[in-house]
Subunit: 241 residues, 2 copies
């Protein structure tokens, strides 16, 4: 029953080192077609991709994203934006600034990007999402001339992988897939997973560390606060009502 597509999805790893080989125009067109083929809530089509080919913009974006050098190194770097400015241009009297539009914009833009990732990986390419762009939303917005009602959510590196990281074990299905109602954590299962992650971290080929998943998670979340985002959203016309 498992097939090539499911195999492909299940062997996804984020790729952070790329060969110099460029993507062809045909590959880019296929990836964008696949991306656009994702569902669009009420057919609103509120996502925009900005492909960054200007080297000085790539350097700045890499810096804004926390000096992740693969943002420069990857043959392709695309910025995915939730975009209601398209609709605002069509009708400037539109009732925007609703929280619903923020949620819809994030969801639809993300599912589009995930199709891009799947399509790219099916072509032998690798990818990594760059949420780090959200470290500097104001600067990204200015650099790319993003008008009101556009939200640059994340970047995406694409290219031929130059390394082969190990698969990182996900939380056990019993902790994320419930039936009919939410369930509190089963601590025995989490403890076992932490041991599995400890083993993964100790033995992987790069960035080895000790400890499991749950001992790190508070620090990870508290470190990445990006406190300015709510103000930024208001300024860009999101969730004003």
């Amino acid at each position: 029953m498992q097939n090539e597509t499911i195999d492909l999805l299940c062997r996804h790893r984020s790729i952070r080192a790329y060969k110099e080989t460029s993507l062809t125009q045909e590959q880019i067109t296929l990836i964008v077609s696949a991306a656009q083929s994702a569902s669009s809530s009420n057919f609103i089509q509120c996502s925009t991709i900005i492909r960054i080919t200007d080297p000085s913009k790539r350097e700045k974006l890499a810096h804004y994203a926390g000096d992740q050098k693969y943002v420069i190194q990857a043959p392709e770097f695309w910025v995915f934006c939730a975009d209601f400015n398209r609709h605002y241009q069509i009708d400037p009297k539109l009732n925007l600034g609703k929280a619903e539009q923020l949620l819809l914009g994030c969801v639809d833009t993300a599912i589009m990007a995930q199709n891009a990732v799947t399509a790219a990986e099916s072509l032998g390419l690798g990818a990594v999402y760059i949420g780090g762009l959200r470290n500097n939303l104001d600067k990204v917005t200015q650099l790319l001339d993003l008008p009101k009602y556009v939200l640059p959510l994340f970047g995406l590196c694409l290219g031929y992988p130059d390394h082969h990281p190990e698969l990182k074990p996900r939380l056990p299905k019993e902790l994320v897939f419930f039936e009919n109602h939410y369930q509190p954590i089963e601590h025995a299962i989490l403890t076992k997973y932490d041991a599995q992650m400890d083993d993964y971290y100790k033995t992987r080929s790069i960035h080895q560390k000790v400890g499991g998943w749950s001992d790190k998670i508070a620090k990870t979340i508290n470190n990445e606060q990006r406190d300015f985002i709510l103000n930024y959203l208001h300024k860009q016309g999101w969730i004003t009502k």
Copy 2:
């Protein structure tokens, strides 16, 4: 160069009529594995899926989502939630309520769901996202016992298709894929697309209508305001800071 996976992605249609055939346990396991294999920002793993097998809950959810009967008819209906309650259980002193967590939660949950859709479609199944759950977030939250820091973003129907809708043409690539900076709409291209959509709407096998895409879009967006969402988010612990 086009391959089976890209073909699959590019022929996606939302399916709103299902055969009675159930999914097997193996299919469900494969789909969830594929879903969990999607990237997770900083490995936070903040998504939860609630599978709805209780028929009375299915009926209520179908009603909350605007009486979309396929929510009842589909063999499987899963509710996808952004979930930071998992992390709150691990550390109740966590600094939550940031806009960053809302964005991250929406993005990561959506990319997980899109992998589920792709995996399901590769198995010959069909799917449709049910954003309509957001019509009644309070009721969905109560029905599924969702604690604070959990946000039910959308549902997903899965099953064997019992109809074969036409492919719906997306916006031309030139209107959604820019280079180095945002660009205003090229109206000649939009006009041509509207004509293409008018033709699609007139000739498709069900729900025929007249007009293109841009003439409908203001009405579509203004109709789906869901004004209560910001209050709901605050109440559930999201974007309080």
